[in-house]
């Protein structure tokens, strides 16, 4: 009933299906990730390019330091944070599209530029499809968050989950088929 739940208790409660804890968890992580990005901006004085992966790792290190021994394991933290990142990125994409001139911090993928990025409304459809997927196959949904929205490599995800890289890739391919189905189908409707 206490209001100042630690991250670990929030995660535990969320895993037991406590929706209000899940909400609280997301808002904590959201403000944490936001905070780091804003601070980077303030420090550099100019819009910075901060990779999602970097952001995530930094949040993990800072929060782990703060919360000490009660901090949950890295894999669980990443799972939740990745979901939050997805939300951040979708917001951000909308914002960036609308933005003509600076001021906002800039999230940039560490990877190369590409042309065929989904537009924002596809992004939100993907996000909805992921929510659906999370109900039946949570690890698949989380994987997409980590890979697509946070830019973690297969190797990183594999070590996070203690499974082989090949398995990660196979799961990824499967999730992608699922998402493609959902998104395309929805578009057709």
């Amino acid at each position: 009933m206490g209001s100042t739940s630690s991250l670990s208790t929030l995660i535990e409660a969320a895993e037991r299906g406590d929706l209000s804890a899940a909400d609280a968890l997301f808002s904590v992580l959201y403000s944490e990730l936001h905070g780091i990005a804003k601070r980077e901006l303030a420090r550099q004085g100019v819009p910075v390019s901060l990779g999602a992966t970097t952001l995530l790792h930094q949040a993990y290190i800072e929060m782990a330091e703060r919360e000490g021994i009660s901090f949950p394991d890295r894999a669980r933290f990443m799972g939740y944070a990745a979901r939050v990142m997805r939300g951040l990125i979708i917001d951000h994409a909308r914002r960036r599209q609308a933005q003509k001139r600076g001021g906002q911090f800039e999230l940039t993928s560490a990877e190369t530029e590409f042309e065929r990025a989904p537009i924002d409304r596809d992004l939100s459809r993907i996000s909805e499809a992921l929510d659906e997927l999370a109900k039946t196959e949570p690890p698949l949904a989380e994987l997409v968050d980590l890979k697509f929205f946070c830019g973690l490599t297969f190797a990183e995800i594999a070590s996070l989950r203690d499974i082989s890289e090949r398995t990660v890739q196979r799961q990824w391919e499967k999730a992608r088929i699922y998402l493609h189905r959902s998104v395309r189908t929805n578009l057709e409707i």
Partner: protein, 930 residues
């Protein structure tokens, strides 16, 4: 391409896994054999695998989405004729963007307000549409204008609003160092904007400085009609739902009492909020002060506390700074505010809407009169008015009830509303209702000590429980919800009948609630013996059962519960870490466990558990919490062991601690203090009862103090049982002393106490209280010559004890209610010349006491009681000319006190006390016989 249902997906998922794990070549072979096995599934699988190949070629989802190709941006879609520039703000409802006209025709900047994705359905969208509708009706130079509204091709609703670049009004005034008159002039513009809205039957409902912006050119703009209310729309069900949301969305610090309590919202609500803003502009302070920590405190401040006059509010540590920002000095500022401005602000902040200015215009008129040094229309409060206000405070109870019920009902109807809609929304509602219910349970804890809150607490907790319970039906409940429900039941039990704090006296119901709580918590504790929360609740239940057994007078059960509770407290203390509040609870439980052993005459255990209570270390400022109550138990044990001087010393120490604790006004702590006075009184000189120091005059003063506290608490809470019970207990002591000196005055005390206990809903405990008072009063009546009335009182007393299942009884505990009534009857026979009947009655009483199993050679109370009974009986036997029997009793008595003489140094004094009781009655008899 067709959709895959979740069922289909689940069916195909393992095969897809397998197929993907194979190489291109292997896959073809496997798929062929699979086709023979499950042709339909293989068909779908093949489609999916082809899709997979295309997606891999396309690198679908392989790169992060962040660098979005600009060609597809929202910019090209335009928001009406505007393009977005940057994000201004983001909140729960959506985002607000700075935008500019993109066709170059006008150089005008606007604010575009988007509704967040998640809000695009239901109440959020409804609210959004209303804001558009409301603003569309308003055109005023001081209201931010609605320029356009629409929906983007993506389906996002938006409003285009006049963009106001500036500062919130309070910051603006401070920055510009505006003096009082300039502030009022600026404020008048806000009032005119509000008046315009009111003229269009629109109430803003969320007026606060951050919604009143001042541009750099000094123009004021009222913003954000997001939760505004159309007064004409009350019957619309959607609007009702919106009102619930609106209530949740309002800003509590600026809310009017009727907003907090859920009473009807009118234009007077905005007048109040304007008053708060004006107060803030003039004084730099919030009228409720800034030290509001909890929901209960805020509720209490808004609906109960009278704010200080603005002129008094400026006398703070920052007085000089505050005055400087108003181009003034502290002294000058105080003078400026005193008088008319105090009166005007006071009238806007009246608790009752009808007492405020009738309209924003009327407020504006008075402010203009002030600026022109003309007489204002508002009248200052007179002294009688202030006094009347004080009396009105009891209204809090009613209002709190209304709040709790409205909010909870609101949340439920909102819950039902969505029940038929998407499951996801229903789940969110589930979480909300649950959260709200738990919030109310916490609120109950906050206001528990607030005198006058019993009935409200009951409503709050039962409503909350009902909702938690409704959540538990239909769905399998998780452990946390089960614990929440269990705790809610415990809180319900407390309001129904926790004998240690104000309660409704519904002890049987409380018992049932505790059993219900146990039903939820027991399985959890059985599965997980270390679950701290479950253990806490179970310990609380065991503790509460002690008190309920005590109220029933069930000594056996009481001791069993006390032992159970003691072992649970120990078990709880072995868990780690224990929060400070829980430590306090454990100390508190030990106090009542010790108390139970005191009632059970096990004084060594009283000392043991009192020591354990003290061993629970509380940090710093709380180290002495409950120390007074612990000392009271120790004093009682000392007293009963015959150490009167030591007991008196400990009791006085206890009072000192408790006076400090009770100073805060917390009801339970004040009850503890009253009990401590009662204890000191009993040690000093309780009449006709246990041994004492015989200092009845001092004792009387103590009993009177205890009685005063009980009266005060009972007066503050018309529903509270405990206050009335305590009046009966303390009133009896006062009456018992007074009747020996002034039977008439004693009668008044007895009668008054009887009247107060009869205000409570009858239960076994009130019946016992009443019986004792009637028995005590019978002496006074008889000594006033009203022998028939005395007899009736005694008959009635026995009837009540019968109803409470205390009589008839084969066994009677010494000094108990039944003992008092039976002795009263025997004395009645004795004093009205019916010696033979009196002998019989006393003989029977003695037999019943002996049957109870007293321990007169070790227990001083039992010794005194039996000794007195012997004395009275011996006296009667002599009158009946049966001296031999009398002599035998007297010899037994001498033997008993000789035994005690070896144990106590004041045994002889006790014997004399025992004799003097009979002597004093004889003296009275002598008077009435003349």
């Amino acid at each position: 391409m067709s959709t895959l249902s979740p069922g289909q997906w689940q069916e195909i998922s393992p095969y897809l896994d397998h197929a993907l794990s194979l190489s291109e070549e292997e896959r073809g072979v496997w798929l062929q054999s699979f086709r023979l096995e499950k042709p339909e599934l293989a068909e779908v699988l093949q489609q999916l695998l082809e899709e997979h190949r295309v997606l891999a070629d396309e690198h679908f989802l392989e790169r992060m989405p962040i660098r979005v190709a600009s060609g597809l941006s929202m910019l090209d879609q335009k928001i009406g004729a505007y393009s977005l520039i940057s994000l201004i703000g983001q909140g729960g409802m959506g985002s607000v963007w700075l935008a500019e006209r993109s066709d170059g025709r006008f150089e005008r900047r606007v604010a575009v307000k988007f509704l967040r994705f998640a809000m695009t359905s239901g109440v959020g969208a409804e609210r959004f549409k209303r804001e558009g509708k409301i603003l569309g009706q308003l055109t005023h130079p001081h209201i931010a204008e609605l320029m356009d509204a629409g929906v983007t091709p993506n389906g996002e609703a938006y409003l285009v609003l006049e963009y106001v670049e500036g500062l919130p009004i309070d910051q603006y005034c401070d920055q510009q160092k505006l003096d009082v008159d300039a502030r009022i002039r600026l404020f008048l513009d806000v009032v005119s904007a509000v008046a315009h809205a009111h003229a269009n039957l629109i109430v803003h409902r969320d007026i606060k400085p951050s919604n009143v912006m001042v541009r750099s050119d000094g123009q004021v703009k009222l913003l954000d009609f997001g939760i505004a209310k159309l007064l004409a729309e009350d019957t619309n069900p959607a609007a009702t739902l919106l009102t619930v949301e609106g209530r949740a969305a309002m800003t509590p610090q600026f809310a009017a009492p009727e907003q907090v309590t859920g009473e009807s919202i009118t234009t007077a609500t905005d007048v109040y909020a304007l008053g708060v803003v004006l107060y803030l502009l003039l004084t730099g302070q919030h009228p409720a002060g800034h030290r509001l920590h909890s929901a209960a405190e805020l509720v209490k401040a808004v609906i109960e506390s009278e704010p200080p006059h603005p002129s008094d509010a400026t006398a703070s540590a920052e007085a000089k700074e505050l005055a400087e920002k108003r181009a003034s000095t502290p002294e000058k500022l105080r003078r400026q505010l005193r008088g008319d401005l105090n009166t005007i602000v006071g009238k806007t902040l009246k608790k009752i809407p009808a007492e405020r200015y009738g309209s924003a215009t009327a407020l504006a008129d008075d402010l203009r009169r002030y600026l022109k040094h003309e007489p204002i229309s508002a009248r200052p409060d007179t002294l009688t008015y202030r006094a009347a206000k004080f009396a009105r405070r009891n209204r809090t109870v009613v209002i709190l009830t209304a709040t709790a019920i409205l909010l909870v009902i609101g949340s439920l109807s909102a819950g039902l509303y969505v029940a038929n809609r998407e499951r996801r929304i229903a789940e969110r509602r589930f979480a909300e209702v649950r959260q709200l219910s738990n919030k109310f349970i916490a609120l109950d804890n906050d206001i528990r000590g607030l005198p006058g809150s019993t009935q409200v607490r009951m409503r709050i907790v039962t409503d909350s429980l009902q909702y938690l319970n409704s959540l538990s039906r239909g769905a399998p409940i998780d452990q946390d919800l089960a614990l929440e429900i269990a705790y809610a039941y415990v809180r319900v039990a407390h309001a129904q009948g926790d004998p240690t704090s104000p309660n409704l006296g519904q002890f049987a119901d409380a018992e049932a609630s505790l059993n219900n709580a146990a039903r939820f918590v027991d399985p959890i504790l059985a599965k997980d013996p270390q679950n701290q929360r479950a253990l806490f609740i179970t310990t609380t239940i065991a503790h509460d059962r002690i008190n309920l057994a005590d109220t029933r007078g069930d000594r056996v059960e009481e001791l069993r519960d006390a032992r159970e509770a003691a072992s649970l407290v120990e078990r709880f203390m072995s868990t780690r870490p224990v929060a400070v509040n829980d430590l306090y609870s454990m100390r508190y439980f030990y106090v009542n466990i010790a108390g139970a052993f005191y009632t059970g005459r096990e004084f060594d255990k009283v000392i043991r558990y009192s020591q354990r209570a003290l061993d629970i270390a509380l940090p710093g400022s709380r180290a002495n919490d409950l120390r007074g109550a612990i000392l009271a138990n120790l004093a009682a044990a000392q007293w009963q062991s015959g150490d009167f001087d030591g007991a008196l010393k400990t009791a006085r120490e206890s009072i000192e601690f408790q006076q400090a604790e009770a100073a805060g006004g917390h009801a339970s702590l004040r009850i503890n203090l009253a009990n401590a006075y009662d204890l000191e009184g009993m040690i000093l000189g309780r009449q006709d009862a246990e041994p004492s120091l015989g200092r009845t005059r001092e004792a009387l003063a103590d009993f009177q103090k205890a009685l005063d506290i009980a009266e005060d608490l009972a007066n503050k809470d018309s529903a509270d049982y405990l206050g009335r019970h305590n009046i009966a207990v303390f009133g009896l002591e006062v009456g018992n002393i007074l009747r020996h000196k002034d039977p008439k005055k004693a009668r008044e005390v007895y009668e008054h106490s009887l009247a107060r206990i009869r205000e409570a809903k009858p239960n076994a405990s009130t019946q016992r209280d009443e019986a004792e008072l009637l028995a005590g009063s019978s002496y006074a009546l008889r000594w006033l010559g009203r022998e028939n009335d005395a007899k009736q009182f005694l008959d009635r007393a026995l009837e009540l004890l019968h109803a409470a299942q205390r009589y008839p009884a084969d066994k009677v505990e010494p000094m108990s209610d039944t003992y008092d009534a039976l002795r009263g009857q025997a004395d009645d026979y004795a004093e009205t010349g019916q010696t033979a009947k009196a002998v019989g009655a006393y003989q029977q009483l003695l037999d019943k006491i002996v049957a109870w199993g007293p321990d007169p050679r070790n227990d001083l109370r039992d010794a005194t009681c039996i000794s007195r009974t012997w004395t009275a009986l011996a006296d009667l036997l002599r009158r009946a000319r049966r001296p031999e029997e009398a002599g035998r009793l007297e010899a037994q008595r001498t033997d008993l006190w000789n035994h005690w003489n070896g144990k106590l140094r004041n045994a002889q004094a006790l014997l004399r006390q025992s004799l003097s009781q009979v002597a004093s009655r004889k003296a009275f008899l002598g008077v009435s016989q003349h």
